[in-house]
Point group: C2
Chain length 332, copies 2
């Protein structure tokens, strides 16, 4: 608790003025006030989410700071997109490790600035503090939504079709590359896999289609199998998936022959794609609208009545038992 | 990054269901969804703030968990009250130290539950994660406000009267008790001072008067002198304070003869009271309304035109130089 000063490093208020205030928007008072004033269009509500990432748990301390910033932000954008909400702003709690220097902050803020520009976001407030063992970054992000269009994970009904955006497993295989696991580190696609692990690319632009067409939706962050099970339990249904339909990227296909690769791809997490259901009555309109998007979507199965034996069935997954393994990332 | 399981401890989802879901409110989906749906009354906006506290920095790891929870929440309620907003809900990012057990979680959640009841709050979401070196807790809190009534720290004008709620210095002297400093630990009022340090008592019920009458307002969290200077600089004015008018509690008065006590009381932070200004035209109406409250307020000085030499003048502070010392808590 003793105060600490370090003449070689800028103080909190200089850091905020120099690196974070330029990211601030309307209602943020240039980040010099205690709070932010967040306006909401009449008739709209806010979808709001808060997720943290911590050194040694969600990223490695020597990962590039701009990618740590991107990951901290995007894990939250992923949640909002899965609810059908386009993100508008965020606040930032930044716990700095004892060895931080100004170059680290500059790179971290640069990562935020880049994503603010890409996604049309502004920074509304937050705090910085000393965090031995950090960095630790907790971001709260929000976006406006028509309350009737908010999509929870509770609305899947038997007969609905099950979809995912993008591809599955890139993040989990990328983590194996990051950890230097034998076989994985030598893959020709190792650099691509690593970059997808370090900075996920949630399909933020797909949010309006989720709002318009999904019956249930969630982001895949803790592992495809475990998250699918969570949606099934939340909706009171079971899910039937055809393994042959699961979308894998070329770089994940390249890795699948390695030991543990399929289990990692299906249960490892860090996908930040959207798992969602569409009722048959909306299917044709959904397909027409989705065809105009640059986000790929794949129908991987369908929703069936709740089966007390098992909330999920994965057909044709030859020789790989993913449901017996934990199936979902444990945060502890 | 390896997964970790521990059969002796409940998993993340059990913890949430058992201890945190009972605190959740409307739009939180029982804490099983990726985000929360936050409704806002038409014509209102949200005042929103995010502040974190970390073991070894803002509290000691062996502090009682219910008081750690109260502190994590109340530092945010303090910000909202100072903006004139009554808090309504919050989200929680909880980073758990490796040695956590279920009793710690139960006590921590009990602290939140108690404050939810006292202040009329609900929990809307957030996350839990492993935080070696923690606990670290980042809370985002918000409350509705008429956008025109939001009070920043930028609105103080020369001639305005300067007030504080409650008393100054209890938290900073309480920290000296907590650290066992000679003299302080033996004060008869040591237990009271300690409890005020561990769990501050921001004047949340005073928020409507701030909204109605203040010209500028901020919470005192980083030290009275430094925070006064921040308000002066933000408003482009100087502040003149009469030291004899500063409100000290009986327990702080008891400590003031000890070495370093006056400097700690005025610069040490952890007050979580409100520093605010009222224009002369509103003074009589403000005094009438304030007389009906159970929150004490003290006029400590007034706002003067900006003086380039010094943003603040503290008159009659015999033999104590607080402006030369850092004057504000450094978060690093």
């Amino acid at each position: 608790m003793p105060k600490r000063t370090d003449a070689q490093r800028p103080g909190e208020f200089e850091l905020i003025a120099r690196y974070f205030a330029p990211l601030s928007g309307e209602g943020a008072f240039g980040l010099i006030d205690d709070a932010a004033l967040v306006s909401v269009t009449p008739g709209k509500a806010l979808a709001m989410t808060q997720d943290a990432i911590m050194a040694g748990v969600h990223f490695l301390p020597d990962d590039p700071p701009n990618l740590i910033a991107a990951k901290a932000l995007r894990v939250n954008l992923s949640d909002l997109a899965a609810k059908g909400a386009t993100p508008a702003a965020f606040s930032l709690s930044l716990g700095l490790h004892d060895g931080w220097d100004e170059a680290w902050i500059a790179a971290f803020a640069g990562g935020l600035a880049s994503d603010c520009a890409s996604y049309g976001l502004s920074l509304s407030g937050g705090d910085t503090f000393r965090a031995p063992g950090g960095p630790v970054i907790s971001i709260t992000a929000w976006g406006e939504i028509d309350p009737a269009a908010y999509k929870s994970r509770l609305g899947a009904r038997p007969g609905d079709l099950l979809f995912v955006t993008g591809t599955i497993g890139d993040g989990a295989i990328g983590l194996k590359v990051r950890l230097g696991e034998a076989g994985y580190r030598d893959l020709p696609a190792a650099p691509i896999l690593l970059s997808l692990y370090l900075a996920p690319r949630p399909p933020v632009r797909f949010a309006p289609l989720i709002a318009q067409f999904a019956s249930a939706s969630m982001d895949i962050s803790d592992g495809f199998v475990g998250d699918l099970r969570k949606m099934a339990l939340a909706s009171g249904v079971s899910m039937e998936v055809h393994a042959g339909n699961l979308p894998f990227s070329p770089q994940v296909r390249e890795a699948l022959a390695l030991p543990g690769a399929m289990v990692a791809a299906l249960t490892g997490g860090d996908d930040y794609q959207i798992l969602f259901t569409v009722s048959p009555a909306r299917l044709e309109a959904f397909r027409e609208a989705a065809a105009l998007q640059d986000v790929t979507v794949t129908q991987i199965g369908h929703v069936v009545p709740s089966d007390a034996q098992s909330p999920i069935f994965i057909r044709e997954l030859k020789g790989v038992d993913v449901t017996a393994s934990a199936g979902s990332y444990s945060h502890f």
